[in-house]
């Protein structure tokens, strides 16, 4: 009877707590479903698949990594509940956010309350990760507000054959509008003339009315920093209206696939992650891991998640056993991650800089002669100082 009671008790004891003693436990709250899941689910799935791959090679410091993923559907209330659950029930060493910026506040609050680091992977890097950084917030996501506009406008200035009449396109969400407003001001200091700025609502059934106003202003270059749908629909609508200029836009997860679909030599994407076109040895590893984990997303969508996986692997490697949030935090405050060519250089976090010390940009476009994607500009570095 005693034996039976013991068996029953051990069966109902929380599994997570038991496993937490044997593994590094990380907790993710991500937009795995819902209207914006396409931007975040591939990141989380690739990151998880990479860490499972690490586990299959013996784990980190002889221990397994366990990733608990909870879906927040990009809703703040769900993100708050997820963070509470991850901290209280799973006892995670680190919270990971891969969702819309509206979910940040509740997760930041929970992270602060528990003193557990919060890592943004695939989600927009909050300004608190830039120097001087918030002690608990870290980010590896490719795009970086202000830096992206500096790099894009730098590319335009370098490649423009005549004086630049700049058109700007954003989506009516704070981060996109803020960046395009910044770009508008920056362009003036760089000797360009901003001629029109269009902010499209998310979503809109027809982008032609917005594109009409942009086209009527006759820009010869366009810069758009927004969710992919707004960037590309505005471009396609402008082309249909007969606009002939060059369009620079941010390289989201699907950029490689879309360049091949659009096949327009005047459509440029600027980004910080290498494309599969580069065919690096790490790309073969990504393909193998994706096949093994049976990921449903195209391999070209997985780079951002792999970057996050590499970062987590390095951080945990520097976290001595037994782990604790403070030990993880110490490791995160001084880490340099070799990204194996997935970016233009290593990702480095310091005590004051939880974004990265250097951001490298590359530009691609479609080459109709070669019938493939080509580099329009190789890695250019920007120091992250502010």
């Amino acid at each position: 009877m005693k034996k039976m009671l013991f068996t029953m008790l051990t069966a109902v004891l929380p599994l997570g707590a038991a496993q937490a003693q044997d593994a590094y436990v990380l907790g993710v709250s991500g937009a795995m479903t819902g209207p914006v899941a396409g931007n975040y689910a591939p990141v989380v799935e690739a990151m998880k698949a990479y860490l499972e791959h690490v586990n299959s090679r013996g784990g980190i410091n002889g221990r397994q990594v366990r990733v608990v993923v909870l879906d927040d559907q990009a809703q703040p209330s769900r993100a708050a509940a997820n963070a509470k659950q991850l901290l209280a029930q799973e006892g995670v060493l680190m919270l990971i956010n891969s969702s819309l910026s509206s979910t940040y506040a509740p997760m930041v609050a929970e992270s602060k309350r528990a003193g557990v680091p919060l890592y943004f992977a695939g989600a927009v890097c909050p300004t608190e990760t830039y120097p001087p950084a918030d002690p608990l917030q870290f980010c590896s996501t490719a795009f970086g507000a202000r830096l992206d506009s500096q790099a894009a406008l730098g590319f335009i200035r370098k490649n423009a054959k005549e004086s630049v009449r700049l058109g700007l396109a954003a989506m009516a969400i704070p981060i996109s509008r803020g960046e395009i407003d910044y770009a508008e001001g920056l362009s003036k200091t760089m000797g360009m003339t901003p001629v029109e700025k269009q902010i499209t609502p998310p979503p809109t059934p027809d982008y032609t009315p917005f594109a009409t106003r942009l086209k009527d202003a006759s820009p010869n270059w366009m810069w758009s920093w927004a969710p992919w749908v707004a960037q590309v629909r505005t471009f396609e609508a402008m082309r249909r209206l007969g606009w002939q200029g060059s369009y620079v836009t941010w390289a989201h997860l699907n950029a490689e696939e879309e360049l091949a679909r659009i096949k327009d030599p005047g459509f440029y994407v600027i980004g910080t992650n290498a494309l599969l076109e580069d065919d690096l040895p790490i790309h073969a590893e990504i393909r193998a891991v994706a096949a093994k984990a049976r990921l449903s997303h195209p391999v070209s969508y997985l780079t951002e998640g792999f970057v996050a996986g590499l970062v987590l692997e390095q951080v945990l490697r520097n976290t001595p056993w037994p782990p604790a949030p403070q030990k993880v935090l110490a490791a995160m405050n001084n880490v340099k991650v070799d990204l194996k060519g997935l970016r233009g250089g290593p990702l480095e976090w310091t005590k004051d800089n939880h974004f990265r010390t250097r951001q490298h940009y590359r530009v691609w476009r479609w080459d109709p002669q070669a019938n493939r994607i080509v580099r329009a500009q190789d890695w250019q570095a920007i120091e992250v100082k502010r």
């Binding site: 479903t33 059934p205 027809d206 679909r261």
Partner: protein, 289 residues
């Protein structure tokens, strides 16, 4: 001229979507809040048939249109039938639940990636010149489809036996039933037609701009157009769509593009204050809402 074309295209999008809201409301007095999801399901239907009948675009389109109508009938038979005799609120809540279910199911079935049904059909979206204005081939098809759908519906409702029965069931269901009209058949037909027209709108929007989960929200954006025109009037849906589209496009062009997001609801509020039953709606019917 370009502005006129832009207004016409946007009005056609809204009108084609709004038509489904009106058909269901007019016949059964149920406000379908799953219409956006059913519209998206129609678009995913085209994506699926384009892959299934690769190289045969017309078969794929025919199958997708047929599938959309069948889904509408199936929704009625499987769910809305049970709502007959229940309060209108219960029926509306059922459509909300249906919408949530469909949204989740579509993500599970088709994933979160943007799809391009037109490319899968093997076609390109050419840019056409229309008296100095530019319009995409798909947008032109959308305008023509809207004209054909509304023309066919007008003819059907006025001249066909089933159409007259449908109007009778909408005006006085009890009397219609006493005269031997099978209400379930009429309601199923209304759901089928509404889902077909909504699905067609979804297919054309997806063909023009790509298919992704935000299509649901576009379905909801047509709702003010239906209300402004009058929820039980197809002519009203056309007029409401034209008013909303004109207000949006003109504000984008002459004032501030951001206002385009709020103007449909401003127009709607003004209409609700001045004439709550809409431009062409029936007063007594809307009083019940």
């Amino acid at each position: 001229m370009q502005l006129a074309v832009n207004i016409l295209v946007l009005a056609s999008i809204y009108a084609l979507i709004a038509c489904g809201y009106v058909l269901i409301y007019r016949v059964s007095r149920v406000l379908s809040l799953a219409h956006g999801e059913l519209m998206m399901l129609g678009a995913y239907g085209l994506y699926a048939t384009a892959s299934l009948f690769s190289g045969h675009p017309w078969i794929a389109i025919g199958a997708a249109v047929g599938l959309a109508a069948a889904v509408g009938v199936a929704v009625y038979l499987a769910l809305m039938w049970r709502m007959t005799g229940e309060s209108v609120l219960a029926a509306v809540l059922a459509t909300i639940a249906l919408g949530i279910l469909l949204r989740g199911a579509m993500i599970l079935a088709f994933g979160t990636q943007t799809q391009h049904p037109l490319r899968d059909l093997g076609w390109q979206n050419a840019s056409l010149d229309l008296g100095g204005a530019r319009i995409s081939a798909v947008a032109l098809t959308l305008v023509i489809s809207t004209v054909v759908v509304y023309g066919a519906l007008a003819l059907f409702l006025r001249a066909s036996r089933w159409g007259i029965r449908m109007r009778a069931a909408g005006q006085h269901p009890l009397l219609a039933a006493q005269r031997g009209i099978g209400l379930h058949g009429i309601y199923a037909l209304a759901w089928g037609l509404a889902t077909l027209t909504g699905g067609l709108a979804g297919m054309l929007i997806a063909a023009d701009a790509g298919l992704e989960s935000t299509l649901v929200i576009i379905g909801l954006k047509a709702f003010p157009a239906a209300l402004v025109g009058g929820l039980d009037s197809l002519v009203g849906a056309l007029a409401g769509s034209l008013i909303i589209a004109a207000a949006e496009v003109l504000l984008i062009h002459y004032v501030d593009p951001l206002l385009s997001e709020v103007v449909p609801f401003v127009v709607l509020l003004v209409m609700l204050v001045i004439r709550p039953w809409g431009l062409f709606g029936t007063r007594e019917e809307l009083d019940r809402v």
